[in-house]
Amino acid sequence: MSEFLRAYLTVAVFAGAAGLLVLALSTVGRLLRPSRPTREKAISYESGVDPVGPGFGQSQVRYYIFALLFVLFDVEAVYIFPWALRLEEYGGFGLVEMAIFIVILALGLVYAWRKGVLRWV
């Protein structure tokens, strides 16, 4: 197995370790904790008042446009990282390139700002 794959095998094993911890604690918990379910205990919590409606309610997602902006900027971040890593080789050329890239994106942000997207709707 290559060094690279082996490094990520460690990552997978660590994820397994998290699962192991949960499994161990849950097993101990199962042995120790009581289980006396009643109908009242299974009612959704709404500050002590009887819940209204089925629980899975509708809610207005007020910042869905932020989510679109986020995708834009997150992809940008993915491009910036390799550039940041090799900047010394690219020198002035790379700097100007990235400045243009960032300015265009910043213009996008300014446009969204002026359009009132960043306001609470």
Binding site: A18, L21, P34, S44, E46, P51, S59, V61, F66, M98
Partner: protein
């Protein structure tokens, strides 16, 4: 690994897994005990827990024993499978954060080439767990808390990632060992004794990183998703006993991991003048102590802010990220890049 005796891969792996199983709960316990219990109490002119052990130091043991014995409850309409899985996802994200943090020249679970990029990637897995918890609870408070958390983590993910870019530009390396080395070998105007902790040049990045971390951990002043006074506890409202403990472990374990990341990227990590970068027993023994001290220093600041500032309103919270932090971090990247190219 630079240990004196050569171990097979699986032996090393077994040691690492044992270590992480000890480190994550211990780190969480130290953070919660020191800051959340005692420091918060003293800052608010209270004593905090005093009964369990001397000065209340064993309080967490008592709490842990209590959590394990609590009955697990779930609302009748909850989506059981997702409901049980959600805390595990959050905990998983915290465990993976610890993979890349180096505590000495030879003490790191895996010095991935992607290093800090990997850490940022796995830290955002916890958003999934939070959304799962919010939806699966079949509770209005939980749903609103989950949605708020998602919106907030999205908004503050960007300043977090972009603040790191400045460090990457300066170090020219993504792996955390590489970043530590770059700081140790750096010079301040030709004066190289203490290296160049990046906080000196990346002070803006450091501030941005700390603010974004605060929001990523949903800590006050950015705790709208779990606001006690209006959402009770947001996405955690229906969780009890052990499942709540997993969220707790995940959250404060991540607080420790993020403090350690900040200490590694901006304060020089495990290195102090006099330690050998290449390995050796001294560096491997002193390194973890140094890293722990720096981590606690950063964590102190994070919790200090937590106990001091009042909660932001949801719209203030969003516009603060988009209108101030993101433009500032873009400027930081360009300025750092210019300095790197010119000097």
């Amino acid at each position: 690994m630079t240990l004196a005796l050569e171990l097979a891969y699986w032996q090393q792996l077994a040691i690492k897994v044992l270590a992480i199983l000890v480190i994550v709960p211990t780190a969480t316990a130290i953070i919660v005990q020191t800051f959340l219990f005692k420091m918060m109490a003293h800052m608010q002119s209270r004593l905090g827990p005093m009964e369990a052990g001397p000065h209340g130091t064993l309080q967490l043991m008592a709490d842990g024993a209590k959590f394990v014995q609590k009955e697990l409850l779930a609302p009748a309409r909850a989506d059981r499978r997702v409901f049980t899985l959600a805390p595990v996802v959050v905990l998983l994200s915290t465990f993976l954060l610890f993979v890349v943090i180096p505590a000495g020249p030879g003490i790191v679970a895996e010095n991935l080439d992607l290093g800090i990029f990997f850490a940022l990637a796995v830290s955002s897995i916890s958003v999934l767990g939070v959304l799962m918890a919010g939806w699966a609870s079949a509770n209005k408070y939980a749903l609103m808390g989950g949605l708020r958390a998602a919106g907030q983590l999205i908004a503050y993910e960007l300043p977090l990632v972009l603040a790191v870019v400045g460090v990457v530009i300066q170090a020219g390396d993504l792996s955390l060992q590489g970043i530590v080395r770059a700081q140790a070998e750096g010079e301040i105007f030709g004066f190289g004794l203490i290296g160049l902790p990046f906080v000196l040049t990346q002070f803006l990045g450091f501030a941005l990183f700390l603010i974004a971390t605060q929001a990523e951990l949903t800590q006050p002043p950015f705790d709208m998703p779990v606001a006690e006074s209006e959402l009770v506890a947001g996405f955690q409202v229906e969780y009890s006993g052990l499942q709540f403990l997993y969220f707790y472990l995940g959250e404060f374990g991540a607080a420790f991991a993020f403090s350690a990341l900040a200490a590694t990227m901006f304060l020089g990590g495990w290195w102090v003048p006099g330690l050998d970068l290449e390995g050796g027993l001294l560096a491997n023994v002193v390194g973890p102590v140094v890293l722990f001290a720096k981590t606690m220093a950063v964590a102190f600041v994070i919790f200090w802010i937590r106990f001091t500032y009042p909660r932001l309103r949801e719209d203030q919270l969003q516009s603060f990220a988009w209108k101030y932090l993101i433009p500032l971090s873009l400027v930081n990247i360009l300025v750092t890049g210019a300095f790197k190219v010119i000097f």
